[in-house]
């Protein structure tokens, strides 16, 4: 196992390096730069700007300098927001995005997974159909519609919650709900489906035949075996949601990392694009490693190291 993890960590570093390189190439390949503006500044001023941010260095040097910075955990200064650094953005934005994301994930699991189990146990009964309907609406109506509707109802009409911004717990509710809907729907559908698979398997039938109660069967065998796809789905989901979601952060004016990332691409804020990509990429690789380790615990038969034929 230790050897396997070592292998994976090595692969992760290689992947991160490829990711950085591809992103670096892509962002320099597309038109526009950080100082492209509707009003063109005189050439001399553009030269000053380029000099200040080392954009007049040859690309390979910029690339190597950047990699050097990453190795020292210095992601560089922002071009769009002078005086601020990409490390500042992460230090400020990540806790906010992560807080919202964790709440949303807990919410979606707490509701979605039991809903999925109930659906499966009551297949094609009203419980199942209701869950399905909610889930379908959850995935079909995107957050950019849900969020303004929530805001309209609960902030403007009922005055129960503040419309937007970030600070106290009341401001967490609407964005968390809006953010939770899609994973909630996914969890409930995935759970239902894999529960149905598991329930029809012979070992469950055996367990039942041995006289185990319905509850015990469900918990001890079915859920444990059905949770695999959920775990798979959770890996990238946690990485994606904890590093921020643009639409939700934009609509609710939340100072998270998701908005920063989209702005950075819009603004061609090179260091920020790269920095946040590296941050997200590292997070994703770690999550997926954890997922694979969890596989081993869930089903000890799984051999990640490959089979000798």
């Amino acid at each position: 196992m230790a050897r396997y993890i070592l292998q994976r960590v090595f692969a992760a570093f290689v992947a991160l390096w490829i990711l950085t390189t591809v992103t670096f190439v892509l962002m320099h390949a597309i038109p526009g730069g950080p100082f492209t503006r509707e009003r063109n500044v005189p050439e001399a001023i553009m030269r000053n700007l380029d000099a200040k941010y080392h954009l007049n260095d040859p690309l390979w040097k910029q690339y190597l300098d950047y990699l050097g910075g990453v190795a020292r955990f210095d992601l560089g200064p922002s071009f769009k927001f002078p005086g601020q650094t990409v490390n500042d953005f992460i230090r400020r934005g990540f806790p906010v995005s992560a807080e919202l994301g964790i709440i949303a994930i807990i919410l979606s699991m707490a509701v979605g997974i039991p809903a999925g189990i109930i659906s499966a146990l009551r297949q094609n009964k009203w419980q199942d159909n209701t869950t399905m309907l909610v889930a379908i609406v959850g995935v079909s109506v995107p957050s950019f519609i849900i969020a303004p509707v929530l805001m309209y109802v609960f902030a403007l009409k009922l005055h129960w919650l503040p419309a937007a911004m970030w600070g106290d717990w009341k401001q967490v509710i609407m964005p968390a709900v809006a953010l939770a809907l899609l994973p909630l729907a996914t969890f409930s559908r995935l759970m239902r489906s894999s529960m149905l698979d598991v329930i029809s398997q012979d070992y469950i039938k055996t367990a039942r035949a041995k006289g185990l109660s319905e509850l015990a069967v469900t918990w001890r065998h079915a859920v444990k075996n059905a949770i695999m796809p959920i775990v798979t789905y959770l890996g990238p989901l946690i990485a994606a949601i904890l590093t921020g979601t643009f639409v939700i952060e934009q609509i609710f004016a939340i100072p998270g990392l998701g908005r920063q990332f989209v702005w950075s691409v819009n603004n061609r804020d090179y260091t920020t694009i790269l920095g946040l990509t590296v941050f997200y990429g590292a997070f994703l690789l770690i999550m997926n490693l954890i997922v694979d380790i969890i596989y081993g615990f869930l089903d000890p038969r799984i051999q990640l190291t490959g089979r000798k034929e």
Binding site: R8, A11, A12, V14, A15, L19, V22, T23, L26, M27, A29, I30, P31, M132, L133, I136, V139, S140, V141, P142, I145, P148, V149, Y152, T186, R189, L190, R192, S193, S194, L196, D197, S200, Q201, M228, P229, V231, T232, Y233, G235, P236, F261, V265, I273, T277, Y280, G281, L284, L285, N288, V291, Y295, D299, R301, I302, Q303, L304, T305, G306, R307
Partner: protein
């Protein structure tokens, strides 16, 4: 209990003796097996037909496709014809679904939008199945170092900012529906690949796989005949849930400039354009969103039915 030719056994006694003629053995029928051999797919189709909700879903989808093709001819409006004086009119007899911000008939635009959005849904499904399920299946089945490499490739693609790729695609290839398919093709299989790979990792250690190996199934047969069919549950769920996301991704891609050029608009574009005026003109968001939801509902019923129909354990 039914008998050949549908003759009720109860009437035998009342028949005259010469009612039967001795025909002797029929050589050509001696080897005939009563139940015709059905393939996996025929079998699945037979079972799907018995599933009421699933067939409803299928009919709704066919109905929507028919509307997408013939609907625009029925409304008497075009998707581009503007009557600016009639902008933002609520639903009425003249405009069943109201008009948009340029005074175009919303219903007609939704019919046209169906062409794009349904095709996006279908293409996304095909990509998911053809690329995602296969890629994930191979990665999981082969395992070891291959798996590590294949999955890290998935992680890298996950990590690359899609917006950068899309802008580059747009600059290099210009706009058009085909380019949307390409963009979707680049990314819309990653989740599926991970799900299938996870399932296959677990399944391949199960007894039935060992049994199949024992009787000499090669990797290819193992994957296509045993492992993937047994992963149908999560595959179908992932598939049906990823379709709306593909439809909305298309709206975002079109906004950036990769999709079909205005004034043609998909459901996703219609919904996202309407949302700015959600309070004053709610129908501009409601109808396209409802069209997407209905389609998704239909796809889900069909998906659930397919799941049951394709489940090898239910094959009797």
């Amino acid at each position: 209990m039914s008998i050949v030719n549908g003759v009720n056994p109860g009437v035998f006694g009342s028949l005259p003796d010469n009612a039967f003629e001795h025909v002797g053995p029929i050589p050509e029928e001696q080897n005939l097996i009563v139940r015709p051999p059905t393939t996996y797919w025929q079998d699945a189709w037979r079972r799907l037909k018995k599933n009421f909700l699933a067939m409803c879903g299928l009919y709704v989808i066919i109905f929507f496709i028919a509307l997408a093709i013939f609907g625009p001819m029925l409304t008497g409006y075009t998707y581009f014809g503007q009557v600016l004086q009639d902008a933002n009119k609520a639903p009425s007899l003249a405009h069943w679904f109201g008009t948009d911000h340029l005074g175009r008939d919303e219903l007609t635009r939704i019919f046209y939008g169906a062409r794009i959005s349904l095709s996006i849904g279908i293409v996304a499904s095909v990509i998911n199945l053809a690329v995602g399920a296969l890629y994930g299946g191979i990665s999981g089945l082969v395992g070891g170092r291959t798996d590590n490499v294949m999955m890290r490739i998935v992680d890298i693609i996950y990590g690359i900012p899609l917006q950068l790729v899309v802008i580059l695609l747009m600059v290099v290839m210009g706009s058009g529906l085909l380019n949307i398919y390409v963009a979707l093709g680049l990314v819309y299989w990653l989740g599926m690949a991970r799900i299938v790979r996870g399932q296959v990792l677990a399944l391949k250690e199960q007894e039935f796989v060992l049994a199949a190996r024992m009787v000499g199934a090669d990797q290819r047969r193992l994957l296509l005949r045993h492992l993937i069919p047994n992963t149908m549950g999560p595959i179908i769920v992932t598939l049906t849930l990823s379709i709306p996301q593909a439809i909305f991704t298309e709206a975002w891609l079109s906004f950036i400039g990769l999709g079909v050029a205005a004034p043609m608009a998909s459901w996703g574009v219609l919904a996202s354009e309407g949302v700015g005026g959600l309070r004053s003109y709610p129908w501009q968001t409601f109808f396209p969103a409802a069209a997407i939801s209905l389609t998704m509902l239909a796809f889900n019923f069909l998906g659930d039915g397919l799941r049951d129909a394709l489940d090898p354990r239910l094959r009797r």
